[in-house]
Symmetry: C2
Subunit: 419 residues, 2 copies
């Protein structure tokens, strides 16, 4: 991903008591910040307020300081959803029932055989002059209110967006970005680019290229570390960003799986598809996450045949033909079993490649030789020796699964790029 950055004052106001009670981690700020960066916009301030009257205070603060304000949440059907009404009141705008929205809601509910209630129809109330943003994944539309200099106190460009990420994100990528492209001021010459690396630690990257990159003129260097993945973002004058890109390429080229924002699984499915290769999976310790990640990619059925989750040893033998004697002799968590699982999966699913994982996710099941966190990843392919690697991820269960699948996908990506 690359582009350039402005100095416009953007505020994000997240409403929702569930955020302040810790039930839900707020991913809106990070999503919005990344989504608007290509337009050269960055967030100056973010606030989280509970459902209810507090929204008004937050809006008043932002009205005074920001040119663009995003509000998330509080558009739903329940009594504590009052964002729409609060904004309308502050902007002194009448609410009216929007026929198109009401119609869209009615159709949506009918398709789902859900009864239409007055509460649900509240979501069709629209402030005078607001632009509605279609919600493909929920009933409440988003609302855009253009900046109003006439209003005493002068109002910013105001976007009211639904709280659920699955509703907000598609709406943002289409409706919101379209409007932002129109209202965003002309681009200064500040560029940025994001590189995603698999299987390398942030500190290693920082140590190897951090000083060199920060020595470049006007450069801002940002890291986003995920399990077995680091995003490196460079912001600065385009000449410096280009130099930084060359430095990263020189040091880590083989580990950079994208500079266009693709996920690792997307890259793997794309490579398999272009090479007309078919993949199968055999998972023990990752328990289906590998398959889940692959099948999250639209069109993955062309490249992914399916897989086996062999938690029980009997299934390793029955489903994959791993000899009971091998499990007996080396243990279910072993190089030999990982190899047999991968080769068994490839043979039975008739695919070109097969990935297998076997390990100890924990918290129980560790031994001195094979402590919790131990995992073997094997990659079988036609007419080539099966590769196997041992890793150690002494983390919580979900991080362990995420890291194991990350290294498995990276092992496959390396083989595919080498083809």
């Amino acid at each position: 991903m690359n582009g350039s950055v402005h100095r416009v004052n953007v505020h994000v106001i997240n409403t929702g008591s569930e955020l302040l009670l810790g039930d839900v981690v707020n991913t809106h700020l990070s999503f919005i910040a990344r989504a608007i960066l290509p337009l050269g916009l960055r967030v100056a301030r973010q606030f989280t307020v509970p459902d209810g009257p507090a929204i008004a205070d937050a809006l008043r603060t932002s009205f005074g300081e920001a040119q663009i304000v995003f509000v998330t949440g509080g558009l739903g059907p329940t009594t504590d959803d009052i964002t729409r009404e609060t904004a309308a009141e502050l902007l002194q705008l009448e609410l009216h029932l929007d026929a198109d929205v009401a119609n869209a809601i009615t159709l949506r509910l009918a398709a789902r055989k859900i009864e239409l209630t007055d509460r649900i129809l509240r979501q069709a109330q629209v402030p005078h002059g607001a632009v509605t943003l279609a919600n493909e994944h929920g009933t409440a539309p988003g609302l855009y209110l253009a900046a109003n200099a006439a209003l005493h106190g002068k109002s910013p460009h105001l976007f009211l967006l639904p709280g659920p990420p699955r509703e907000l994100q598609p709406m943002f990528k289409t409706g919101v970005l379209q409007i932002l492209k129109r209202i965003a001021p002309p681009q200064e010459q500040i560029d940025f680019q994001t590189f995603r690396l698999a299987g390398i630690g942030e500190s290693v990257i920082e140590k190897k290229v951090g000083p060199q990159i920060l020595a470049l003129e006007g450069v801002e260097l940002g890291y986003c570390a995920r399990p077995a993945e680091v995003d490196v973002r460079i912001i600065g004058p385009s000449s410096s960003v280009k130099k930084a890109a060359r430095i990263l390429d020189r040091e880590f080229q083989s580990s950079i799986f994208t500079s266009t924002g693709e996920s690792l699984e997307m890259v793997v499915i794309r490579l398999l598809t272009t090479k007309r290769a078919l993949l199968a999976t055999a998972e023990s310790c990752t328990g289906g996450l590998l398959a889940h990640r692959l099948t999250n990619v639209p069109g993955s059925s062309v490249a992914y045949a399916g897989g086996y989750i062999t938690y029980a040893n009997e299934l390793k033998s029955d489903s994959l033909g791993v000899a009971a004697s091998v499990i007996e002799k080396y243990g279910a968590v072993s190089k030999q079993v990982a190899i047999a699982m991968a080769e068994g999966a490839r043979a039975r699913a008739h695919t070109d490649f097969a990935l297998a994982t076997t390990g100890i996710a924990g918290p129980a099941g560790g031994t001195p030789e094979k402590p919790v966190g131990t995992v073997y990843v094997a990659l079988a392919r036609e007419n080539a020796p099966t590769k196997v690697q041992r890793f150690f991820f002494p983390n919580d269960r979900e991080t362990f699964k995420q890291m194991a699948t990350q290294f498995a996908l990276e092992m496959l990506r390396q083989s595919l790029t080498a083809l």
Copy 2:
């Protein structure tokens, strides 16, 4: 989850440009909120501000409104880390070099063969009267400044904490909670309880019980909607919370899968384990998510044998013994195939139960009779007819998978509770 809650005003101020650029998802709010809830404390407001002078504005705002303020970030060695200095200035406190802290930092760096610079030693500067909180995983100590009524404007209890979660979280669990236990006001009798319901919409719940519950004295009603799941939280006097619980039980008992914070998959694994029943899965459209969710539960290997991901039709026949003629006649997305998948999985994995999913996740692959979003879920069990249900989730791919697995797990949970 249940307990009791105060009316103390707690603010969280997160500093860090990386948060506002979206490089890092802010997990501090959710962590702190969950950590203080058992003490009866809740967060009233949260702010994210960039590194630098903006911290002062945020602190001034909170000083006026809050009794307890947590600030994260800006304690580090770099020039834009000015939280410590900013707070000291606002509180009119001198900074001095704390010998113990300086010593701890010196030892830590020596152990890591890192050169000690003035920049790094800045982190040993401590405002007069501050309590230092040991940092097991970094150089900058946390700082606690007790509330100061004498100060003009009156200051709240102020905690300055490091930005990295791996440094903040251990410090919070030890040092911070200890102090909070001392300063937290005596518990009022305000309780809370969260009920999680599967397969029912927020608006249906709101309509059926919202008014009755809100009619109870001093009750706060909150909803958190996830795909095919709604959390209902009730906060208020314990008598009212008890009444609310009875109302919910009366209307939705069979759909409430927990009031103790368990996930649906945890409940399913617990029920299977206590009933000594074994489960297998056969997934087409959910592509491994069902297995992934089940295997996220520690100890799931006792209750979950494994499964099959049969994306390709050949695998439906090879792995599960679904007759090619049945797929031919009814289509891969059909009641008949779902049933055959579930029964095949149960037979081949030798389990008591088997869940199967087959559907069209989209975006492509829909037909007029079976549009994108159509899914069949089948549940096979010993000595009982196989159950099958058709659902329609016209959502994005990941939400579709989440909802399909949610209804599959709920179908199993219902059967298990009926046993």
